[in-house]
């Protein structure tokens, strides 16, 4: 299933940026936008694919068919990334 979780870590080899998924749970994450100057995530959350039976606390579970609709919404405007970031942030 697809879930939305926080991105945690400090960006080092010992504590890399990663989805907040418990150790022992396999995951595959679509790449999240990063600041090309320092590699920091431009968003606070990431969509991650995990096994359906994984015991995970997530911000939300995303229906796969809705995720497949994302490409139809057009490319992210990297020149206006501040606006994009704000639109994705969760309180």
């Amino acid at each position: 299933m697809w879930i939305e979780v926080d991105i945690i870590g400090t960006g080092t080899l010992r504590d890399p940026y990663r989805p907040d998924v418990p150790d022992g749970v396999p995951f595959s994450a679509p790449s999240w936008p990063k600041n090309p100057a320092n590699g920091r995530p431009l968003m606070k959350t990431a969509f991650v694919c995990v096994p359906d039976d994984a015991a995970i606390s997530a911000k939300q579970i995303i229906r796969a068919d809705l995720l497949l609709e994302l490409p139809k919404r057009g490319a992210i405007d990297l020149k206006n990334i501040t606006h994009v970031e704000k639109s994705w942030q969760r309180s």
Binding site: Y17, D23, S31, K34, P36, N38
Partner: protein, 203 residues
């Protein structure tokens, strides 16, 4: 699929891997120790890339783990693809680590020195494991001993060098690389077709 680079590190102990390998400012080099590539610093990044040959954009790199200490010290070891030339620390890696709290393999990406994990799978890691990263277009696949363990998609890095990376948290004696190989996917399709022909599936 062709092997373009092979280094078994079978040479005299030395603080440098040799002229075909480059270190990166801000990180530490590997050293030759007992016919293996060993990180030179603990609790720090150790990074080198191969400069004598750069495979085509669709490329693979693999390491055979030599020493993998049977203790609780954290360490990771990586095969790197599409890595920028010194001193820009940007590229993809396929890695093994333990413990955290248990072993795992994962696909990662350096961007200007910051490291992110793109996919991960819990696995037991032992000495002799072969960790391999294949990058074809924007598809990244990590293999452990020939088995696909993790996949990711990222189109940020389109070309670059192959190399090795490690972070031994406690002691440089916890991990080393017995051998390194890298290459491309030339002749891959003809080999697949030949296999199908040999099996009588196509003519």
């Amino acid at each position: 699929m062709a092997t373009l680079i092979t280094d078994t590190f079978d040479r005299s102990n030395n603080a440098d891997l040799g002229a075909s390998w480059d270190g990166y400012s801000g990180s530490n080099p590997f050293a030759i120790n007992s016919n293996a590539a060993r990180p030179s610093a603990a609790a720090a990044d150790n990074i080198e890339t191969y400069n004598a040959t750069t495979p085509p954009d669709d490329q693979w790199a693999e390491i055979t783990i030599g020493t993998w200490a049977a203790n609780a010290n954290y360490r990771n070891i990586h095969a790197a693809c599409r890595f920028a030339a010194p001193n820009t620390i940007s590229g993809y890696t396929g890695a093994a680590e333990t413990p955290n709290p248990a072993g795992k393999v994962f696909i990662g990406e350096f961007v200007a020195g910051s490291f992110s994990v793109l996919a991960s799978s819990p696995q037991t890691i032992v000495s002799g494991d072969v960790i391999r990263l294949e990058v074809i277009g924007s598809n990244l696949t990590l293999f452990q001993n020939g088995l696909s363990r993790a996949t990711a998609s990222d189109g940020t890095r389109t070309s670059g060098r192959v190399g090795i990376v490690s972070y031994p948290n406690s002691a440089i004696t916890d991990v080393d690389i017995a051998s390194f190989r890298a290459g491309d996917f030339s002749n891959f399709i003809p080999k697949v077709i030949n296999n199908l022909r040999n099996q009588g599936i196509c003519s």
